[in-house]
């Protein structure tokens, strides 16, 4: 560590920008950019210390930096790590100096920083106005636009089917822990299938706790890549501690939300080279899980039967839902275009309100229609329609 401390103090990555100021700013990352833009554009007398190698903290450089300063501000995203380093170095060296940052609430603990947050901070510590443009504001209220599952997404079918199974069993106490991926979008209505999420792998870990601490049913969701990353240790705990819940592993054969990177379940690695494919079901089986089923989520009837069985199972029940992500190239299920046969449709709106596929909409006359530009031809709506009113366009 001593060697690294020396390196940190001599590295060109940790750089001091002098502007003959009495106030100094210690900063790193994106926040450095906001500080430099504000300082240069407004010709502020502020010295800046850019810390790139933050650990071990360059203590000697800091002491050099503050030599002629009256006060210092620390501008860093998230937790006040550097700010505490600065305070401890000043303390150790018996130096009395004001340190502004998150701890004295000069900067907010919440929010990602913006140029405006940083400019306002500089105004406070310099006690000087910085000219800013007057932003416009609008009084018109506008609807939010959250992201949603794609048309033809296998996660949508899983959520629809799990909810259908739960309702048909008359269960109204189910807790749905979830994990990090596209399927976190299950939090939206009508699925409402994301009650609890802490971090990667927490879907399974917290399910163990919920199943011990409550008598409620628990159904949790985790994607294939998150399962490989952080789902295996809690699954081992669940089996060993005789917990009771349903674990749905959503295997869409990619890391979809972040742009389709491969994961260990694929025969190809991050560089595109051939790589050994790791089997999710072999891992699950090896933990000693007594109920393991694989489903094709696009088969609504069979999936529902499986979920009912899994919910009745007294122990850890694992259902692996296998269907590739619809964004994978060439995944369109069929070339056939689907349409709602108006003479059969009784406007029950199961497709619109329960399945809630974004390719299905109501037109100006209140008729249910399918947007063929968006539709992926997955055929799930064909199966859920009680009137059998959705079919191939002839």
């Amino acid at each position: 560590m001593e060697e690294l401390r020396k390196l940190s103090n001599s590295s060109e990555l940790n750089k001091i920008y002098r502007r003959n100021g009495k106030v100094g700013v210690v900063t790193s990352g994106g926040a450095f950019n906001y500080v430099m833009d504000a300082v240069q554009r407004n010709d502020l007398n502020v010295d800046v210390f850019k810390v790139t190698l933050t650990h071990p903290f360059p203590d000697e450089l800091l002491l050099e930096f503050i030599k002629d300063l009256d006060s210092v501000a620390v501008v860093e995203e998230v937790d006040p790590i550097m700010e505490k380093e600065v305070l401890s170095i000043l303390g150790r060296n018996g130096i009395q100096m004001a340190v502004h940052g998150k701890l004295d609430q000069t900067l907010p603990m919440i929010y990602e920083y913006t140029p405006n947050i940083v400019m306002e901070m500089l105004e406070t510590v310099l006690n000087q106005k910085i000219p800013k443009n007057q932003p416009s504001n609008s009084d018109l209220s506008i609807p939010e636009r959250p992201p949603t599952l794609c048309p033809g997404c296998p996660h949508r079918s899983v959520y629809y089917t799990v909810k259908d199974a739960v309702n048909s069993m008359g269960l109204n106490d189910v807790i749905y822990p979830t994990d990090i991926g596209c399927y976190t979008l299950g939090i939206t209505s009508p699925y409402d299938a994301a009650d609890y999420l802490l971090s990667m792998g927490s879907s399974i870990g917290t399910s163990c706790g919920f199943s011990k601490a409550t008598k409620q049913n628990v159904v949790c969701f985790i994607g294939d890549s998150t399962f490989f990353h952080a789902g295996i240790p809690p699954l081992i705990n669940a089996v060993h501690n005789k917990d009771r819940f349903v674990l749905v592993i959503l295997d869409n054969r990619t890391t979809a939300m972040t742009g389709g990177q491969p994961n260990p379940g694929l025969p190809v690695d991050g560089m595109g080279w051939e790589a050994p494919e790791v089997s999710i079901d072999a891992i699950v089986e090896a933990t000693g899980v007594k109920y393991l089923r694989k489903i094709n989520p696009m088969n609504i009837k069979k999936s529902k039967e499986t979920f009912i069985e899994a919910l009745e199972f007294d122990g850890v029940a694992v259902v692996i839902s296998q269907h590739p992500c619809m964004l994978t190239k060439g995944r369109r299920s069929s070339k056939a275009e689907l349409e709602v046969k108006q003479e059969k449709c009784d406007e029950c709106a199961v497709c619109l309100e329960k399945l809630a596929c974004t390719a299905i909409y109501k037109d100006d006359e209140g008729k249910v229609r399918i947007d063929t530009k968006l539709c992926n031809g997955c055929n799930v709506c064909v199966q859920v329609c009680p009137e059998r009113a959705i079919g191939v366009k002839k």
């Binding site: 443009n133 932003p135 939010e144 636009r145 959250p146 992201p147």
Partner: protein, 197 residues
Amino acid sequence: MKSYSIYISGVGGQGIIKTSTVMGEAAMKTGLPVVMSEVHGMAQRGGSVSTELKIGDNYSPIIELGSADLLISFEPVEALRAVPKISKESYIILNTNPIYPFNLNETGVSYPDMEDVLTELDEKTKQVYALDADKIARESGHSLSMNMVMLGAASAVEGFPIEKGTIINSMKANLPEKSLEINLKAFTAGFSFVKSS
């Protein structure tokens, strides 16, 4: 040069990030320093998407409130969402074709009337160029070339710092060859719309 800030907003899937890439690379070809930031991940999932570009001597790509010189909005409500970034000095290129949020019925907020959107934006800025870019794209050969209609329109705005020809070269380098002709036609149609307004 004076720094030039461009804010692009719209809905995932409209080709916003591609448009920014074409613009950013064109700026680099011109020898102008450029920084860019984007929202992604949401792109193909129908959420709000925005990118910020600053051309000139800057460290951060994030545009200060009220400081965008140009707002290119691919969707009317997304232009209103971007209002804090603009000022009385800004220009707006607005695609008037609305995309209704999938959860509109649950939000309790209705989609505003187009007339109100235009009046609101007109009051807030120097000039709004409103066009049905989807329609112009279809007339140019394909609805997916809508983003290039918007790019063409932006390139014709007073003060826009990149030459038309440099943008076209960047399109050639960044777009698939088979759709290039349609995209160029779309770009030209957007450019002429603003020039003749």
